[in-house]
């Protein structure tokens, strides 16, 4: 199993979602809300980099 993103991300507590529950991690991580599944900019860049690497091969 491999993983596209390996750079460490600083874990910063942010606003609580509900009492007693605090959000951690990358606030821009990809998720689906309703039928909309956004692709954050850093994910698009990761794919672009992979395609460039493939082209070089």
């Amino acid at each position: 199993m491999s993983d596209a993103m390996t750079a460490p991300i600083q874990i910063v507590p942010t606003d609580p979602v509900a009492p007693g529950l605090h959000l951690l991690g990358d606030a821009d991580a990809a998720s689906c809300v309703g039928e909309f599944c956004e692709i954050p900019a850093h994910h698009q860049q990761a794919v672009m980099n992979r395609r460039v690497d493939s082209d070089l091969i």
């Binding site: 596209a4 529950l21 991580a29 998720s31 039928e35």
Partner: protein, 216 residues
Amino acid sequence: MSEPIKVDIWSDIACPWCFIGKRKFEAGAAEFGGDLEVEYHSFELSPDTPVDFDGSEHDYLVGRGFPADKIDGMLDRVTGIAESVGLHYDYDALQHTNTVLAHQLIHYAKAHGRQLEMKERLLAAYFEQGRHVGRVDDLADLAAELGFDRDDVVRSLTANEYLDAVRADQSRAVEYGIQGVPFFVIDGKYGVSGAQDASTFANLLTQVRDEKAAVA
């Protein structure tokens, strides 16, 4: 020996980031190396989706108002990111459907101690194998492939045996304020939204383990 860390994951089947996020979480969990107790919970991103839709994912999204000229590029990018974590999405074969019965099947499997196996099977069936995951017979076939009693699965799904369990999961999601998935709740205290990097999951789990050890 320390207690395992509980990780509750809200997720849908028809959710490309949920499968990608599952792989990233699994990679992070492996990097963490400690004991985890993982439980999936139901979340319907689009509960008004019809069981049967005669058309491609592109057609479906156009019908839902997505700009036609951007859909193929978007699906290509998601497919590329899925490939980067070892998943082979096939949007040409994918059959868009309502997922409430699939969620009931996951609860059925949980009652038999095999929830994680069923969750994986349904995600792969939907995104990689073009299998239909919205009808009783198709779901029973998938369950039978895993060795479940097909007739009993048909009975359970037909009777909506676990619909209340699905709704209970969704109520908890509302209580937590969860609006998007995947969403991870670690040790009942920390919320982690989206398909995070594997190292982020590993760092979070390590942090939680250290906190638990400090108060023990």
